[in-house]
């Protein structure tokens, strides 16, 4: 398709849009209160924990906080203020605070992110679906050095990926980077040998089972603690491998899922397929 718009106008228009955007962003940051960040006095924790929770329980019992005509919510579940310092120094026992935010406080978001990745992989596979065909042009056969080297490196990379997601609650890292590291090891295997194909059915089963495991952990929380994705395991002593409740379980599930998904994406991208519509 031919486009007759002169290039200069396009560039000017693009610059105009970008300029408006930048001016807005600049204005937004300039007009921000001093300190360049969250106003600490208004922080959530201060507002709700230090001032209000004690009185909140009392007021909730008297029903004053509800609008007229509204039934009190959670009437059957009494309002419990959160008990901090249940574990040594954090409320969910993870030495890595990022992890406890990602998996415990905002575990639902993480479930959503995993789903996004799963759907992206599914979309790629759906688009590239078809009968596998042999490539017409012959590919270069990688040398023996690559073949042996990638296989040895794969073992180390795989181990490292597992380390990253098993220690997610202790050291920086977690399910997503661990899975990505594993997938890049599998990518190395693809580079090392022509016609390398992982076990498709195995990858699919792995992917499904780990996703199911994640949701089932959430459902166990729903039926034992009455809240979806609640931490239902004891939090243990901070810094131990067996601590932080269900965080490491979820990270193992995420790591396996991300690893197998990305590997499947790479596989379906590399393989040559022919579309077929019955």
């Amino acid at each position: 398709m031919k486009n007759d718009t002169p290039k200069v106008f396009k560039s000017i228009f693009a610059l105009f849009v970008v300029a408006i955007f930048m001016i807005g962003l600049f204005y937004a940051f300039v007009s921000m209160p001093k300190g360049w960040g969250v106003n600490v006095n208004n922080r959530v924790s201060r507002l709700y924990i230090l001032k209000n929770v004690r009185t909140a329980t009392r007021l909730l019992d008297s029903g004053k906080f509800f609008a007229k005509g509204m039934k009190p919510l959670r009437a059957e579940v009494p309002y419990k203020p959160i008990k901090f310092k249940k574990t040594a120094n954090l409320e969910d026992g993870a030495a890595n605070v990022v992890t406890s935010i990602v998996v415990d406080y905002r575990g639902f978001d993480t479930l959503g992110e995993v789903t996004v990745l799963f759907l992206a992989a599914s979309g790629v596979m759906m688009l590239l679906f078809g009968k596998r065909v042999k490539p017409k042009r012959k590919k270069t056969e990688p040398s023996l050095i690559m073949y042996v080297g990638t296989r040895i490196a794969f073992a180390v990379i795989f181990l490292f990926g597992i380390y990253i997601f098993v220690h997610g609650h202790l050291t920086p890292g977690g399910g997503f980077p661990g899975g990505a590291v594993i997938a890049s090891g599998i990518l190395g295997l693809f580079l090392g040998r022509n016609g390398y194909t992982p076990n498709h059915a195995g990858l699919k089963v792995f992917e499904s089972l780990s996703g199911i495991a994640f949701v089932i952990i959430g459902l166990i929380g729903l039926f034992s603690v009455k809240s979806f994705l609640a931490n239902f395991l004891p939090t243990g002593i901070i810094g131990n491998l067996y601590s932080a409740g269900f965080i490491s379980l979820i990270y193992i599930a995420i790591g396996m899922k991300v690893g197998s998904e990305l590997a499947a994406v790479v596989d379906s991208m590399i393989g040559d397929t022919k579309e077929e519509w019955s």
């Binding site: 990022v98 990253i164 920086p172 890292g173 990505a180 997938a183 890049s184 790479v266 991208m269």
Partner: protein, 84 residues
């Protein structure tokens, strides 16, 4: 000290992203995108977010670059097939 290193990294990021936008070859765009990701992951590390840094390095610089290259190869193969 770390502010100087970070400044250098930021400059590298800007230059590589400009290369990614303006380069004529798609392959060099992809490679420079990978470099951008690498720089960004370093920047995350300087900003004391090692979690994000590891993720960015593994996914942005490693895997997505590879997937882009594979996709580019696939697209080019399709083009030549149509011409023949």
């Amino acid at each position: 000290m770390i502010i100087y290193v970070a400044t250098i990294v930021v400059i590298v990021i800007i230059i590589t992203s400009l290369i990614a936008v303006f380069s004529k070859k798609l392959l060099s765009s992809i490679i420079s995108m990978g470099l951008v990701s690498l720089g960004v992951s370093g920047l995350f590390f300087f900003l004391q977010a090692p979690d994000v840094a590891i993720t960015e390095a593994a996914i942005g610089a490693g895997l997505s670059t590879a997937i882009f290259v594979i996709a580019l190869k696939k697209v080019k193969k399709g083009e030549t097939k149509d011409e023949e």
